[in-house]
């Protein structure tokens, strides 16, 4: 039993953290929000680092770092709140590899892993980066399907730094488990979003003074921060478990993914909302970047289908398992 990231996985996170801090600062999101376009050079760098194929086997042109590698990377994507089709492409590739037919793998993985094509991810009515994608992996409850060359209708969501669309067109089913893998990946991004919201808040409340002392010395604020940590670490424990299950114990992926989805949805809502509140009036402005995190969290939670359905599933799992004893 060793519940911690390996040195390799930790290194992926470190590199991503550093690169994204420089190349994808939140200040860049203001531009993306206006144009609705991603920074192509940023995506180019991600591709050159092999990120789209992080979870893909080397024989398909990827890095072979599995779902845990994907989770670590997406955590950093969430931390940066970066605008790029990485969640969609890297996750769709991982799902196709693990749950697609052999012909799916042969057809899509090399292009996706090489960054020559991109993929969309999400559901029929809420697909991230599906517009212009070569393929989309769409989920609906326990089912997942692959839609080649998806016909899309783009729309703006409250997260102007990610491109969403609805998707039409025929799909081809992926094996059971693909939807769980997709949600585990989204949960990992949410963990990073929460961590960033916490870090920004802690830095702010140490700095900001009121009534002559740092606001972080008031228990109303400091205990709120402690609760943000509790939720963030809870989501992290569950998201890592789900990533591990995807790599090492697929039988447990369904429950693990439901745990990760519910924990991440709950954390995403509470932690990013708390970050705005702890920032006070500043947190409510467009200039203070904390709102990007709140908005992305809302969309990620919607892609997860909300916490509730996962909690219901978990309750039934717990009840049926206990009854079967």
């Amino acid at each position: 039993m060793r519940f911690e990231l390996s040195d390799d996985h930790r290194e992926i996170g470190r590199v991503a953290r550093e690169l994204l801090a420089v190349r994808a600062p939140m200040s860049a999101l203001h531009e993306v929000a206006v144009t609705g376009e991603y920074d192509g050079a940023l995506w180019g760098e991600m591709v050159s680092l092999g990120w789209p194929g992080i979870a893909i086997a080397e024989k398909h042109g990827g890095q072979g770092l599995g779902a845990i590698g994907l989770a670590v990377l997406l955590e950093e994507l969430g931390y940066a709140c970066a605008a790029a089709p990485l969640l969609s492409t890297a996750t769709a590739a991982a799902a196709i590899q693990a749950y697609g037919a052999e012909e799916h793998r042969a057809r899509w993985l090399p292009g996706l892993a090489a960054g020559e094509t991109t993929a969309g991810i999400g559901s029929r009515d809420l697909a991230a980066d599906a517009d212009g994608a070569a393929v989309a992996v769409l989920i609906d409850g326990d089912r997942a399907e692959l839609v080649p060359a998806p016909a899309t209708e783009p729309f703006r969501s409250i997260d102007p730094a990610r491109r969403f669309a609805t998707v039409r067109g025929d799909g081809e089913p992926l094996a059971a488990g693909a939807a769980d893998l997709v949600r585990a990946a989204i949960a990992a991004e949410l963990v990073g979003i929460c961590q960033r919201a916490l870090d920004m808040t802690v830095a702010y409340v140490k700095e900001r003074s009121q009534f002559g002392v740092p606001v972080g010395s008031f228990q109303a604020v400091s205990h709120r921060c402690a609760e943000m940590l509790l939720h963030t670490e809870s989501a992290r424990s569950a998201a890592y478990f789900a990533a591990w299950a995807a790599d090492a114990d697929r039988e447990r992926l369904r429950e693990a993914s439901a745990l990760a989805s519910a924990a991440a949805a709950e954390a995403g809502r509470l932690v990013t909302g708390s970050a705005i509140q702890a920032h006070g009036g500043i947190g409510f402005t467009w200039e203070a970047d904390v709102h990007w995190l709140y908005k992305r969290a809302q969309l990620d939670i919607a892609m997860l289908g909300g916490a509730r359905r996962h909690l219901i599933a978990l309750g039934r799992i717990a009840g049926e398992r206990a009854a079967a004893r």
């Binding site: 559901s123 009515d125 109303a220 909302g273 509140q277 409510f284 709102h291 919607a302």
Partner: protein, 379 residues
């Protein structure tokens, strides 16, 4: 205890309803903030023409001398009719009553009438970037200059500043006096070079609020309200008036929003799901409790001049419930509620400000703990 309206209250309400029914505000302009503001200004002018602009003001100043309960009914009916808040709401609710309490005869003559007609719009310049909820630490300075004052400093969260002729401004006139004591209350003319307004863009993309950059703005002695060094007391009058009637408008807006969500949920057949019904029931409960508690506060105010313990709770209840409601909508209505153009998306984002604006929930809890429960000052 009587939870029905009295005959005179009903008469007041029916007369107002009849007027509101007869008034066609035209459709609400979408997207363009200036047009939206002009629409609210037109509405106030019509109200003023009908004698409805400031029902709670004494008759001598153009009001109706309405009771507190009638004043609440006024806002309740406005919201029920889908009417907007009058453009000069801060003038009507805050500046007017404060000037009536503290102003000289000249000040009342000069300032009150144009408030009523929305001819001169007012904004409130209390908050500062470094002071937050701590008004005693305001830094904006007013320096004696001949017969008048030279004012410099920065204000923030001034809503409607871009449309305002006047600003209720708190500035420090004596830097050596203890924190509360060196403040004075000015009626600052916004139309001068020394006052720059910069819109503050919000999480929603709109700019409801502004920053004020004040650099050598001038004010005469006639624009000092309530006397030199008395700004803290005058400001308390403004703050006490802040939510008296407005709370009812907000409470009814919350109910309207909840009814809209309830209707959508019912139409989608989701009420059969006990979990959904329970969540909706939670918000319904809170909205009803808010309404009832607000009525308790009004009754106490009518009788004792101020609300009881429950009066400190309604703003807090409202912000909590409105946030819960808008999050529930996002949860139940799914991705459509997160489209940028969707009403629920706007409400979700806007609601984040509810627990910050007009006193953060943390500050409200401090106030409840100290003033209502008598606990020692928070550490």
């Amino acid at each position: 205890m009587d939870l029905t309206f009295s005959e005179s209250e009903r008469a007041f309400r029916d007369e107002l309803r009849a007027w509101l029914d007869s008034y066609d505000p035209g459709s609400e302009p979408a997207g363009d903030e200036d047009a939206h503001y002009a629409w609210r200004r037109d509405f106030q002018r019509a109200l003023a023409d009908g004698g409805w602009a400031a029902v709670h003001w004494p008759v001598e100043y153009g009001g109706r001398g309405a009771t507190i309960m009638e004043s609440a009914i006024f806002f309740e009916e406005l919201a029920r009719a889908g009417a907007p808040l009058p453009a000069n709401v801060l003038g009507l609710l805050l500046a007017g009553p404060t000037i009536m309490s503290w102003g000289t005869a000249e000040q009342k003559d000069r300032f009150l009438a144009p408030i009523l007609t929305a001819e001169e719009i007012w904004c409130q310049g209390f908050s500062e970037p470094d002071a937050g909820s701590d008004l005693a630490s305001l830094k904006t300075r007013a320096i004696r200059d001949g017969n008048g004052w030279l004012i410099s400093g920065q204000k923030v969260w001034t809503s409607g500043a871009q449309y305002s002729k006047w600003c209720m401004l708190l500035a420090r006139t004596d830097p050596d006096a203890p924190k509360h004591k060196g403040l004075s209350y000015f009626l600052l003319d916004m139309e001068q070079e020394g006052v720059q307004v910069r819109p503050l863009r919000q999480i929603t993309g709109e700019s409801e609020f502004n920053e004020l950059f004040i650099d050598g703005a001038v004010a005469s002695d006639g624009q000092l309200l309530g006397g030199l060094g008395n700004g803290w007391k005058v400001a308390l009058t403004t703050l006490m008036n802040e939510r008296a009637g407005l709370a009812f408008f907000l409470q009814v807006r919350l109910r309207q929003l909840l009814d809209a969500l309830s209707a959508e949920v019912a139409a989608a057949g989701m009420l059969d799901d006990s979990g959904v019904a329970e969540r909706l029931g939670e918000v319904h409960l809170r909205a009803e409790v808010l309404r009832l508690t607000a009525y308790r506060g009004l009754t106490a105010t009518e009788k004792y001049g101020q609300p009881g313990p429950e009066g400190s709770l309604t703003k807090w209840m409202w912000s909590q419930t409105n946030q819960q409601l808008t999050e529930l909508a996002a949860q139940l209505l799914g991705s459509s509620a997160l489209r940028a153009a969707d009403r629920w998306a706007y409400e979700l984002l806007r609601a984040r400000g509810n627990s910050i604006e007009g006193g953060t929930t943390e500050v409200l809890k401090n106030i409840v703990a100290e003033r209502v429960l008598g606990l020692p000052r928070a550490h």
